[in-house]
């Protein structure tokens, strides 16, 4: 994994950012499936470790409430198609969730096997085993109910929007999904580290979801630019907003606009869309600022692209990091250094060309600590890290564009996101919302649950 570039002579007066730090073979190895699938016999052994708990804690820990003991038992008995159907009934993105869920904080953390063994049943890997089997067989377990004649607009083709669309389609409604980008899939397509979803899995899963029928996908349609909520309310019986968080939080320090300072999410997306990883420019020394999975993903991927030194700097400690222990360990074992308790103060650059521009050269951090009241305070002590590239990964923000409702209704926000009730219904009765544009855990599996619950509520409303 750790294919260090040859010690090289970067010119002393400009950043060292190059494509092709590693050859195709090394890149192929580095970006291969992070967790290769279980073979059949291992899956049987693992599935037989499941106690088939009554009222199982793992089910309660799953935001989508997958009947985990039931699907695992089906794997053990050889009814792998049945296992996949159980999963997909509760979570149509069961395939992707098997790859990206932080199971160590959800189902696998709840597994009763942890009590004495500290070794849960590998629920995520088993879920992948089952769903891979179904996709490989090309089996379609869903059939649509008779057409209801009702039409629903879904804005956003990510996990929340597509989960909602799929369930509505199965229930007989006609769904139109408006997606701002070129491809649907949302963060599954643009926001997940490449080695977590190899072989075009996000698009294969999308194709599976659309194959049920009744879902029209319209890409390149952004709310606020190409669409307005008020128009959708006029043209459809209900609207589901799953527009995510389109904005990137700024560092708010001097120099963050200089060259070489990038949004981690943009580079992660570019990496996922790249047909040739060797063509991606990557810095020799990379500094990532942030503490979530985005920070982990950009840091690990730049390291695997051939960066020599990659450091994540987070202003709090390992326990406060939203990236799980497992994610932190993943980055660290791939050669990423994580530096805690420091926050950026300013960026220092090289002059570029003659136009007065700068390219980043160094980031100055100030150490932090918690005071007696548990508040984060700066210590005054600083440290500098050399950096050819700096990635900002301090969070995304909801952008409320195009949300004018018309007709005097007001779409209320809760804090920085859209306010919803338990049915994911907004303050506007025919408008629902879910995924990262509402409050709650920013997880694929939570987005899927939002979409599912909203679809059920919309169905009740349209059937009433």
């Amino acid at each position: 994994m750790n294919d260090a570039p040859p010690p090289g002579g970067p010119a002393a007066d400009r950043p060292d950012i190059q494509a092709g730090r590693l050859d195709a073979e090394a890149l192929g190895r580095n970006f291969a499936d992070a967790h290769p699938p279980l073979d059949r016999s291992t899956a049987v052994i693992e599935s037989n470790r499941c106690y088939f708990c009554y009222d199982a804690p793992c089910v309660e820990a799953c935001p989508t409430g997958i009947d985990i003991p039931a699907f695992i038992r089906s794997i053990a008995t050889g009814n792998v198609t049945g296992a996949a159907t159980t999963i997909l009934d509760a979570n149509i993105f069961g395939g992707m969730c098997a790859r990206v869920c932080p199971v160590e904080e959800l189902c696998e953390e709840a597994c009763v096997r942890n009590t004495h063994e500290d070794k849960p049943v590998v629920i995520g890997a088993l879920q992948r085993h089952a769903t891979d089997h179904l996709f490989a067989a090309g089996h379609q377990p869903f059939a649509r109910a008779p057409a209801s004649g009702r039409r629903v607009a879904v804005v956003g083709g990510g996990p929340a929007g597509l989960a909602c669309a799929h369930r509505l389609a199965v229930l007989g409604h006609a769904v139109t999904v408006f997606e701002a980008r070129e491809k649907a899939g949302g963060l599954n397509e643009y926001g997940i580290a490449a080695y977590k979803a190899v072989d075009g899995f996000a698009q294969r899963e999308l194709a599976f979801i659309l194959a049920v029928g009744g879902i029209e996908l319209r890409t390149g349609q952004a709310l606020g630019r190409d669409l307005q909520l008020s128009d959708l309310r006029r043209d459809f019986d209900a609207v589901f907003l799953a527009i995510g968080q389109a904005g990137v939080r700024a560092l708010g320090v001097e120099g963050e606009d200089m060259a070489g300072v990038l949004n981690a999410v943009d580079t992660i997306a570019a990496l996922r869309q790249s047909a040739d990883l060797a063509a991606l420019p990557v810095g020799r020394r990379v500094v990532v600022i942030g503490g979530g999975n985005t920070a982990i993903d950009i840091a690990t991927q730049t390291k695997l692209l051939g960066a020599e030194d990659v450091t994540i700097v987070y202003r709090r400690g390992p326990d406060q990091m939203s990236a799980t222990d497992k994610e932190q360990a993943w980055a660290q074992t791939h050669g990423v250094r994580i530096k805690f308790w420091a926050q950026p103060r300013r960026l220092i650059g090289w002059p570029t060309g003659g136009g007065g521009g700068f390219a980043v050269k160094e980031v100055v951090f100030e150490y932090t600590r918690l005071d007696e009241d548990g508040r984060l305070v700066a210590t005054g002590d600083t440290v500098s890290l050399l950096a050819d590239q700096v990635f900002k990964a301090v969070g995304q923000v909801f952008v409320p564009d195009g949300l004018g409702t018309g007709a005097g209704d007001v779409l209320e926000l809760a804090g920085e996101r859209i306010a919803v009730n338990a049915d994911r219904q907004t303050s506007v009765a025919d408008v629902f919302a879910g995924g990262d544009c509402i409050a709650g855990a920013d997880l694929t599996v939570q987005a899927v649950e939002d979409g599912k619950q909203a679809a059920n509520a919309i169905h009740r409303r349209l059937s009433g």
Partner: protein, 426 residues
């Protein structure tokens, strides 16, 4: 270390672990490997008359349970398919080279006295320690009037045993088939015929599985299947019961028993010996893991005996026999209830759902204020069946605790609900 040397009807071996008559004892090569590994003795794979029988391919089926291979094992192999003279020569050579190990020769010939006399003389010349009459094989040979076809007719068992005892100085072991309603009938017949011992169980007639693609019983032999003989860990309880039946039968008193059936570790061996076996014979475990398993059998049995203070196997031989009683002798006033050790409980709920769905609704599924699961026994409802203890995945988490009563001992024989009760003596 405890003394594991074994004297079984005068046949001495350094330990009570013999390999049963089966493929592992088919020829000198295997047997010598077994002896080098430490096995105390072998029963050489059954000799028959020439020309040798012919075997099929495949020969084995197996039950994998919850990912564990060969939880049960099934074979359709017959007796030795090698010429008699080759077997006899090899037996003679191995016995000469390994004088401290037991070599018993399994035999199966047609039910005529002269056939038995003829082969007994040949076996005696090898120096073998004894013979085992294969009255157990339940497939192939039984259709030719041998094996279990003999074992299922007590008169034949007695007759052949008597012929053999009269014709040879060698000790005679009669191997019994479990494919019979009452194991005591052939066992008593063997005793009447003068047999020194019985060995049991031979395999149980079985169809191990169906290949659902070929729609054919397994093992599949060119598109067809047949019943075979079942053995391995799955059959141990059946074998143990039959051994115990014979051990406690007054009519069988004095006749030794060689325990066979699912012995895979020292622990099963200890159980068989405690319930009346003088030694044990092993096959499936060796076929699954190789001969090396005998090391732990020897070490494990010795360590257990040391821990228990048993200097030799005789010290616990038959120790469980007096406690193996008929149901009507059990104390029906004895009462236990389950108790859950909350400290080791992992909150899987298996005890709850087993009791709630299938037993006596004696376990409460509770949640504490923090939402934590908690399972509690409703002692007033608990009948002490101990299903919960068996389904609990945690060792010693559920304990069956005796409840004091002032009822004393009572059994079904004198119970008022028994219309056939015996009146208590005045």
């Amino acid at each position: 270390m405890a003394d594991l040397t074994n004297d079984f009807i005068g046949i001495r071996s350094p330990n009570p672990f013999w390999l049963a008559s089966a493929p592992p004892t088919d020829k000198a090569y295997n047997v010598e490997r077994a002896f080098r590994a430490g096995w105390g003795g072998v029963v050489w794979k059954t000799l028959g008359e020439d020309p040798p029988i012919v075997n099929t391919t495949s020969r084995y089926g197996a039950v994998a349970y919850n990912g564990t291979r060969v939880a049960g094992f099934n074979n359709i192999e017959l007796i030795s398919d090698r010429p008699l003279a080759v077997n006899l020569q090899e037996i003679k050579q191995v016995k000469r080279d390994w004088p401290d190990r037991a070599i018993v020769v399994s035999l199966m010939v047609p039910c005529q006295e002269e056939n038995w006399r003829a082969i007994l003389g040949l076996v005696e010349d090898t120096g073998a320690d004894g013979i085992e009459l294969n009255f157990g094989c339940p497939h192939g040979m039984s259709e030719r009037g041998m094996g279990s076809a003999v074992g299922q007719v007590p008169d034949y068992v007695e007759m052949v045993a008597r012929w053999c005892k009269q014709a040879t100085r060698m000790p005679v072991i009669v191997k019994l088939t479990p494919n019979i309603t009452d194991i005591l009938q052939p066992a008593r017949a063997a005793k009447r015929g003068g047999a020194d011992a019985v060995s049991l169980i031979n395999t149980i007639q079985s169809v191990v599985s169906i290949d659902l693609d070929q729609m054919c019983p397994e093992p599949v032999v060119d598109g067809q299947g047949t019943h075979g003989g079942y053995c391995g860990p799955a059959v141990k309880p059946i074998a143990l019961r039959m051994v115990g039946e014979i051990a406690r039968d007054p009519d069988c008193a004095g006749m030794a028993i060689s325990g066979i059936g699912g012995v895979s570790t020292w622990r099963e061996a200890a159980e068989f010996i405690a319930l009346g076996a003088g030694n044990v014979q092993v096959c499936t475990a060796a076929m699954t893991h190789g001969f090396k398993i005998v090391e732990d059998m020897i070490g494990g049995l010795g360590n257990w005996m040391d821990a228990k203070g048993y200097p030799a196997t005789e010290a616990f031989h038959r120790a469980a026999v007096p406690r193996f009683v008929h149901w009507e002798d059990l104390n029906i006033n004895h009462k236990t209830v389950a108790r859950i050790d909350q400290a080791s409980c992992i909150q899987c709920g298996k005890c709850y759902i087993a009791c709630e769905d299938t037993s006596h609704q004696s376990i409460a599924a509770l949640r504490d204020d923090s939402g934590q699961r908690r399972y509690e026994i409703k002692e007033e409802e608990c009948v002490g069946c101990n299903l919960c203890q068996h389904v609990c995945p945690v060792d010693d988490c559920i304990e069956m605790v005796a409840v004091e009563t002032d009822l004393g001992y009572a059994n079904w024989q004198t119970h008022p609900n028994n219309p056939m009760r015996k009146e208590a003596a005045e």
